[in-house]
Symmetry: C2
Subunit: 501 residues, 2 copies
């Protein structure tokens, strides 16, 4: 008779979202918890057949689990791809060799490209806990990486996932260094440059802390959850796409690390460069325009900081074979009127359709960046890119291209408004002199964006506008009364969202 292994447990799906960190739950009175000295926070390996995952262990003292069960958090359960109720075994985790490079870095040593690669491979394999990743991000944070290390990290992140090939010498892309509400130029730029024959396989992110990511906004108008194969098909046909990036496993290390960077509120230059450029390279780009908005309430707050970042980005881009053009823009106030997926989509369509009331700032920013791209690849002469882009837009070619892309992605839908609305009005006469972008974003989020795509706000009070008492500053849209109450309560406590003088 073959004895069952002592460490065999029955799998239980707990339905707990613990983000990217896999968590396993084990009862304190399990034989294995006692005999193996497993205690809370121990790192374990969970085996099911030929697959295994690494998880952090929590110890359960209640009947949440039955004896002999191993509970798994949602992503851990999915990663193991085993059946609930099936048998799994667990074991102590073998030592993770690459953690010694992180320790070495803490002691002030440089890491080699090979070592960086090993670290990133372990992170993508799920071998680092959140605590290990926080240590990695800190050790390589601030200004602790030199250019070589930034390049190593960028390369390692590229190699950590899929890489797309287009068989073309010119593939373009753009990126905005975050933080400006409504700055949704991407679908317009993609439409302009692909209508002029360029290849632009654009992958975008969903909102992390903002009321809308480009992927959320695009999704209002067309499906964005495309496989790599589907992206390929759309771009082969239309030259461009606007897809959600995460599904494509392009630079997956970035998706993992960004959560912890956010928890630490630590946004180090070197890591940001690696994050942005690895995604661009992985998608197969050759020429990239980077938009850096500068302002008091966005990520980059001074021209000096923007210029420092520009130089590092250009050098790193050069090392990995990307031609980079950095454009520094105004980041003092929101772009366009809409904040929230559907409301931003309306702005985009207004620009593409050349409507009279289309937001002129969104239009001119899109033309600026599209023009820079056209010049960077040599399609337009220096100084003529903006004009070429404007022509593609005014002629309706860009709009036709956009509709064709939407069709290829799965079909176009016209954006709409949420059910409830409320006008926020000026309480005095004067001139709008400052906007707190962070707080305005928070209003849109409390209103329900991005989960409720039609929620958010329409912003009607740009800096310099003269207002009278009771003029509308912005209009809030929500899908439920509860959310509207919530927003109004928040507004009561925050007086400096929009400053009138």
């Amino acid at each position: 008779m073959v004895k069952a292994p002592l460490n065999r447990l029955r799998l239980r799906r707990l339905g707990v979202d613990t983000q990217k960190e896999y968590v396993a739950y084990l009862r304190v009175d399990s034989h294995i918890a006692m005999s193996e000295g497993f205690e809370a926070l121990t790192r374990i390996r969970v085996h099911s057949g030929n697959t295994s995952i690494v998880a952090s262990l929590y110890i359960v003292h209640s009947n949440m689990l039955k004896k002999g069960e191993l509970g798994l958090s949602e992503m851990a359960f999915n990663a193991l791809s085993a059946k609930e109720g099936g048998y799994v075994t667990i074991a102590h985790l073998e030592p993770i060799n690459s953690l010694s490079y992180v320790r070495s870095k803490i002691y002030g040593n440089r890491v080699t490209g090979k070592e960086m690669k090993e670290i990133i491979t372990d992170i993508v394999a799920g071998n680092y806990s959140n605590v290990h990743m926080a240590s990695f991000i800190t050790a390589f944070g601030g200004e602790n990486m030199n250019l070589d290390e930034i390049i190593s990290l960028t390369r390692a992140m590229i190699e950590s996932g899929s890489q797309m090939k287009w068989g073309k010498s010119v593939v373009v892309d753009k990126h905005c260094i975050g933080g400006l509400p409504g700055n949704r130029t991407t679908p317009i730029i993609v439409s302009i440059v692909s209508s002029l024959g360029l290849i632009m396989p654009k992958t975008s992110s969903r909102a992390i802390t903002s009321p809308a990511g480009t992927a959320d906004t695009m999704e209002v108008m067309a499906p964005v959850n495309l496989s790599l194969k589907k992206i390929k098909a759309v771009v082969d046909k239309e030259g461009g796409c606007v897809a959600w990036g995460s599904n494509a496993r392009l630079s997956p290390a970035d998706d993992i690390l960004i959560r912890i960077e956010r928890a630490l509120d630590l946004d180090s230059e070197g890591q940001m460069i690696a994050s942005v450029l690895s995604k661009k390279k992985a998608v197969g780009s050759t020429h990239v325009v980077i938009d850096i908005p500068v302002g008091d309430t966005v990520k980059i707050r001074s021209i000096e900081a923007a210029n420092h970042l520009k130089v590092l980005m250009e050098k790193t881009g050069n090392a990995i074979g990307l031609k980079i053009k950095v454009v520094v823009t105004d980041g003092s106030q929101p772009v366009g009127k809409g904040i929230g997926p559907s409301l931003e989509a309306m702005d985009i369509l207004a620009v593409l359709r050349n409507e009279k009331e289309a937001p002129s700032d969104l239009r001119s920013r899109s033309l600026l960046l599209a023009g820079e791209l056209l010049e960077l690849v040599g399609l337009a002469e220096s100084g003529k890119g903006n004009e070429m882009a404007a022509k593609a837009l005014s002629s309706g070619k860009a709009y036709q291209k956009f509709m064709a892309i939407c069709k290829m992605q799965g079909g176009f839908t016209e954006p709409g408004f949420a059910k409830y609305m409320h006008d926020v009005k000026a309480d005095k006469e004067g001139t709008i002199c400052a906007i707190d972008n962070r707080k305005l974003s928070r209003v849109a989020k409390l209103a329900g964006a991005p989960d409720h795509a039609r929620a958010g706000l329409l912003f009607l009070s740009p800096i310099g506008r003269k207002v009278n008492v009771d003029d509308i500053l912005y209009t809030i849209f929500t899908e439920t009364e509860g959310e509207l109450e919530y927003v109004l309560e928040y507004q009561k406590t925050e007086k400096d969202i929009i400053t009138i003088q």
Copy 2:
């Protein structure tokens, strides 16, 4: 009618041990999860009446929780001291100011004493998540702290908890920089020096990664879970005690940070110094002997490293008003025969009772360190401490004192052996030439130590011993057959626990 706040939830105790990090569980379809944009890993504040705690949030997609419930991990539930089923409210966490000092440190700046104090205060208040603590430990890890910062950290840790006062100009203590199995000199030293009239209020730790901590070993013979008041009473009467430290809230920051340091396997000098010396100062010590065993498989691996540590410890001790004497000792093999709480307790008693077969290495190490303490405080002339200690031991005075201390702590119990035993024998003839202390510790842990106090092993093969085939190298003791099987399986895969040549 007063409306219930939207963020009101019913409290549910989940019985999950997540260590010192408080974790809260909320259903994805709760109104507040949606409207407030709470997502997994968000940090929230949980209010119950006038108390509140900070917790990391996990989002639940299953019926583990009912709608409108907030689940709490075990320590979070205890910290909030609210009733299960009662109402709590939750809110986004206000920004933690001291995290900006950690970020500043990542950028290479020094922190002031005041800033360090604020960081440690937040950590003790539970305001840092594990991820934040990992970042703190990394930023201040390696050699990143200068002497001023080490002193600041030590002071902040002392002030983070209770501090004992004895009204005496001389209060002694000792500490061993970890890692040597069986090195259980503490109860012997306490007995010797307090029998000679010194005050030694010793607080010790339980095992973290080892098969036994001093508190675990002492607990076999007498209760160690003493309140501050009880410690005071024991020491006032007998001059010495051996108590478990954690109950006394002496330097509680250390108890919190040590878990994360262990998870990171990062043992930075500066943090270790602050950890050790803050505990000593908090307990009211004035004179401290530090034992640093040096060996290939213990924490400190070279004389140079030991000396570097010695200098920093002496300078830091000086700054906080502690007289420090560092003694570097041999760390090449276990001390005594027993490994595991009860088996180590037998060694201690054999030495105190002057039994013929008492382990001479444990005896001589205890006398060395006790002698150094006697000289450090000026009770013995230089070079005469060892002799004075030996006299107190041989005369039986130390044993009497030990029994008196046990009585005051709650009563003495004679240690015993676990139920199952198994001899591990030499498979060849030769001389013992090396011991892997880490693997030997692992054998004792797999045997059940320290949770099963009588489990562990008796080590009978010190370096230099000549053995024949089938001579006993060590004897394993376990309380269950399952554990014995477990250990034997481990032994099969590990051939170099004891090397015979």
